[in-house]
Symmetry: C2
Subunit: 417 residues, 2 copies
Amino acid sequence: MDAVRPARDWIGQRLSRFTDRVETLDEGGMPALYAEVPGTGRRKLLLYQHYDVQPVDPIELWDSDPFKPAERDGRIIARGVADDKADVMARIHALETLKGLGEIPVTLRFLVEGEEEIGSKTFEKIAHKHADKLRADGCLWESGSSFDDSGRPTLQFGCRGLLYVQLRVKLLGYDQHSGFASIYPSAPAYLIEALASLRDQEMNIRIDGFYERVVEPTDADRQMMARIDPEIEKRKKLVGFERLMRDTAPEHVIEQLLFTPTCNIAGITTGYQGPGSKTVLPAEASAKLDFRLVPDQDPEEILARLRKHLDARGFEKVEIVSHDGEKPARSDPNSAVARTVIDCVKELYGEPVLWPFMPATGPMHPVVSDLGVPTVLPVGVGRPDNRIHAPNENIHAADYINTIRLMCRVWERFGAG
Amino acid sequence: MDAVRPARDWIGQRLSRFTDRVETLDEGGMPALYAEVPGTGRRKLLLYQHYDVQPVDPIELWDSDPFKPAERDGRIIARGVADDKADVMARIHALETLKGLGEIPVTLRFLVEGEEEIGSKTFEKIAHKHADKLRADGCLWESGSSFDDSGRPTLQFGCRGLLYVQLRVKLLGYDQHSGFASIYPSAPAYLIEALASLRDQEMNIRIDGFYERVVEPTDADRQMMARIDPEIEKRKKLVGFERLMRDTAPEHVIEQLLFTPTCNIAGITTGYQGPGSKTVLPAEASAKLDFRLVPDQDPEEILARLRKHLDARGFEKVEIVSHDGEKPARSDPNSAVARTVIDCVKELYGEPVLWPFMPATGPMHPVVSDLGVPTVLPVGVGRPDNRIHAPNENIHAADYINTIRLMCRVWERFGAG
């Protein structure tokens, strides 16, 4: 908590130059920062960002200190520089720019939360409790994947949901000499069988009823997706995979990316992991899983189905030691705010590629569905080589400047409506 | 290397008080220490110990500094205190004791190696190259499990073999945001399927031909094993397991312990393992496996069969990044040295429980089979609650004193023969 609080305080102080309506919204988790900057027009625009970042682990793969921004080859390298400090700062800089020129025609409602990277645990509560502060005529979310590999700008109108669980199996009081593996049960063997029972290599998930609420893409979705270049060869070079998961044909990659819910193994830990060898029968084994959920899957329901699966398959000793969830969300790509952003992007960057929703997750559901605020993920600094969540996270400095330009234009245009 | 060398130097200096025949035997790995202390009788006795220890990991579970011996409740707690520093020191103390009283009737050949905990990589080479130094009329190995839970002394006449492998799967150039788990292959999923294909929960190993060279216990083995109390209830309380691996009936536990070769998962590491959550698709996943081998399995052959299994089952992307092996070994429980130890143990401790071989591994094969030296694992400090290879490794101080007594008696008795 102490690690991220200074970031929130810093943003609050910066915004308080323009408004006295700065406050923290605290519903028991990491408090969100809220600031309203009044505009001259009648419209209100909600701006969603977050001030927390992912862990730096594995630290040894960074080329420079993740918390000391480095500049190399036109890029800025630091933890969080893409996800999501660029949005926070570009919007503050846009505000400073417009205020320096006069007044802004739209009332801005900054919401900078502090739990995005750990599942936005209290964001739903914050959104419901402070609905009057967050309600608006439109919402600019944090920017997602802003450019494809060919440099085309992209816009998204929703996100996938998430269920994150931590699993643990403990079968012995403490680690044993591995000679005893002939007679004592193995926690790692138990865990890997349980994990192998959940999914196969092709991400066919074997949890009963897992796919029950999955909706098919609409015709409009399919039309949007058909215009998206999956850029397989470029991705291959960048990411270093030999083949796609299902050897998918190029024309189906985007649909697979968006509409295939996942059971991803984000981490496994058991036994000895240091250099060299240690002959030990581990007493326990743990795993972290994340399920990316598609409309209309519900994390609470999937959690219950996961528990039921484990119990039914003889894996009742797999404990679910913690869990977090976010629902998927979709917004109308024809809303006023969406049309404004599409127009401004067209003018500044050229024709945007439109995605029904992004493959990643954000806590959009309370805003989009509960408060009914039309929402769009605008163009920001996101490129395929940003390495977000990974070592050497980076942005192109030029993208940052353009993000400030886009913000100024969208706010003026939307405020004039 | 720097971490264990001072231990070897220290032992060498201590032994050089009694002989000028102290040297290191260096065959490219961590050198072994050798010292011959001439005796008055015609017999020679080889003494095998090791000066290296297991890693301290997980360090946070130790109640005191593993390298600062602590004394609590009659116990001494430190890394290596049971495995194998007690043998090293008790034998030095026995030498000092007997030399203080006069001469010893047996020529002692100390061999203290430095790679026992990492598979004794160069020990076979050392044994072959320096056969003249190591050949003897009998060998006292490091002591194994010296007492059962009822305090009965135990002796063993051999050991199981070992194949240790480190496996790695790398399918992506670097970790990805887990949203991409819908289209990119998963290294952890690949690895767990590969591991799950090797064995089941009951340690039935599915590698073709794995059991081919496994020999059945002889009638003599069965007679010995029938006299061993498996002490299930005591182990249960101590180790904290709920059930044995195959719900084995008590009368079959010892045979299962000795004659069931294993495929043990000693460690798995992949992705994010820190506190909280991180949504990442890991680029790679690794595992450490140890196979305990029974007579007459051969580690080189099992390694080849493992590779063949992985390739045949579609797991050709599992790399075997390193491997080490030791052959199983058995010695005659009726040899002169064995009978001497049995007699002396009987006099000092009472009737010993005899094990055909121990469930653990040591590099006995070159000594027992290649040099033909009859070998016995005598009574030392080993008890079921020693926590060897685990945090808070400890011995009972009283066992240590008795180990010195036994050594003095065995040397005098064997030397007189």
